[in-house]
């Protein structure tokens, strides 16, 4: 493995750059070359920032040559979902309408944080319009294709972010997650994706979808890379009104700690229904590897998902109401009528959903008194085909093909719990993720379990090379 290759982990790149075994410029140039060769077929990127990336890499090389510390991610190429502000670039949020906006005048907090850590931004990534979807079948910018099978979706809404990492175009990316938009594409593309606790990572400079439920977080192909990126991102930020005031709690140092003392359970009931056998078997494999046997029921999880749908539809529609009134024809046909329907939901139903959220949070808190980490499938099935029919049959029941992808992720983002989607090793023809969930601000427990699983070869994210 060369640090110039697409399979190089972020931290090996940073180590080699810091030791001057390779220049940041050469690493970034190699990443840009991979993007140039492969993105025409995958359609992950909506902007490639070649000149600024090479300039930034040269600045890092000069810092290191002068004996300076360029940061824990020195020279690591990364890319971000195009709803993060990037100075000098128009923030599209997957839309045609925002194309008319002026370029952002500063980076989103999360982008600035990774840059401060030495990472080099190489471009912006495709997504569902305004983050309203699980598929990245974007009508304006085209679908992002799954590197494991280009006839299939990458998942969404952070589809470009997951596919770019899976294909080895970059070792690190950022996405956002309101109902599963980091974890679903991580599962379908076979990479690690972290949705941190609500308020753990600043959303300043990010186009919000449904502010009550919006989170941002990283994707990577190794647990260590994911942890180091999370450590660079986490912490208070007064520019995001929901960002937690508690200080950062770094996780990279816990990876060798093992899982001794952690009580690990398997989510039952809602989380064991309406999934294909392969998704449930992936959870069982992980449970066996961890010695977990206890089945745990989270009361009313199915209603939590319904409440999340109502909050998302109402808040998302409100955010775009003026444009829905004035220029509905410029919306993606895949989102337009869903936004309109959300705009018509009576306020009482929305408020009931917010009250249910408070109730559900307390019930789940009670359950987590007796368990530290819970396992569930991330998605109920692997990646559907691009343009697939609107419904499918799962366990004998007809379900909506696209919205059902979030059936196991929505109940957790609804109450802001941290979750990592881990890619099961040797899943068969297509990747599948197993979701690890913990109580608020207990990301460290998730990282300890994920590190153990990766070390034991139970989960793995090999890079998907170009097909001949």
């Amino acid at each position: 493995m060369s640090v110039l290759g697409g399979d190089a982990p972020a931290l090996e790149i940073a180590g080699a750059v810091a030791a001057r075994h390779v220049s940041a410029r050469a690493v970034v140039a190699a990443a840009l070359e991979r993007v140039g060769k492969r993105d025409a077929s995958l359609n992950c990127f909506t902007a490639v920032l070649r000149d600024t990336a090479l300039g930034e890499a040269e600045r890092i090389d000069r810092t290191i040559a002068a004996g300076g510390d360029a940061g824990p991610l020195a020279g690591v190429p990364f890319a971000v979902k195009n709803l993060f502000d990037v100075a000098g670039v128009t923030t599209l949020a997957g839309s045609r309408i925002y194309r008319e906006r002026p370029p952002a005048n500063q980076d989103a907090a999360a982008v600035a944080a990774l840059r401060r850590a030495g990472a080099v931004l190489v471009g912006c990534l495709n997504m569902d319009e305004y983050a309203f979807g699980f598929t990245t079948e974007n009508t304006h910018y085209g679908p992002t294709r799954n590197p494991h099978d280009p006839t299939r979706i990458a998942g969404g809404s952070s589809g470009g972010s997951a596919a770019a990492v899976a294909a080895g175009l970059v070792p690190l990316s950022l996405g956002s997650d309101t109902n599963g938009s980091i974890r679903v594409p991580a599962s379908l593309c076979g990479v690690f994706g972290l949705k941190p606790t609500y308020g753990r990572v600043s959303r300043a400079g990010v186009v919000l979808f449904a502010g009550s439920l919006d989170h941002v977080g990283p994707f990577a192909r190794s647990v260590r890379d994911l942890a180091v990126a999370f450590d660079a991102l986490q912490g208070p930020d007064s520019a995001d009104p929901v960002c937690a005031e508690r200080p950062a709690e770094p996780c990279a140092g816990v990876l060798e700690r093992g899982i001794a003392g952690l009580r690990i359970g398997i989510a039952a009931d809602h989380f064991a229904r309406l999934a294909e056998p392969a998704a449930l078997e992936a959870v069982e494999r992980v449970a066996r590897a961890l010695g977990a046997t206890r089945r745990i029921v989270f009361p009313e999880a199915h209603r939590a998902r319904l409440a999340a749908m109502l909050i998302t539809s109402s808040e998302g529609a409100h955010a775009h109401l003026e444009n829905l009134k004035r220029r509905a024809g410029d919306f993606d046909p895949r989102t337009r009528d869903r936004f309109r329907a959300g705009a018509l939901v009576p306020a009482s139903y929305y408020l009931h959903a917010q009250r249910f959220r408070a109730w559900f949070k307390e019930r789940v808190r009670e359950v987590f008194r007796d368990v530290d980490v819970v396992l569930t499938p991330t998605t109920p099935f692997p990646a559907p085909r691009i343009g697939a029919p609107s419904t499918t049959i799962v366990a004998g029941v007809e379900v909506p093909m696209r919205s059902h992808l979030g059936v196991f992720t929505q109940p957790w983002s609804f109450i802001g719990l941290p979750a990592i989607s881990t890619p099961i090793a040797d899943p068969g023809p297509l990747p599948l993720g197993v979701q690890l969930v913990a109580p608020p601000f207990m990301e460290a427990s998730l990282f300890r379990v994920a590190a153990r699983l990766q070390k034991d070869g139970v989960v793995a994210s090999p890079v998907v090379s170009a097909r001949a």
Binding site: D337, A341, G342, V345, A353, F356, A358
Partner: protein, 56 residues
Amino acid sequence: MSEADVERLAALLGLPIEPESRAAVAEMLAGLLTAARMLAEFPLPDDAEPAPIFRP
């Protein structure tokens, strides 16, 4: 949920919806209202306040 219902509700908001889209919006709104009714069936205690926090 009929197309006429959608037309009336949208008019209250000042949201124009062209006739050819009303059936699709009606179907999606019906789905959301079904979800809302399933949620409303669950009795919440009076002290369950809406979740968002406002810090003055």
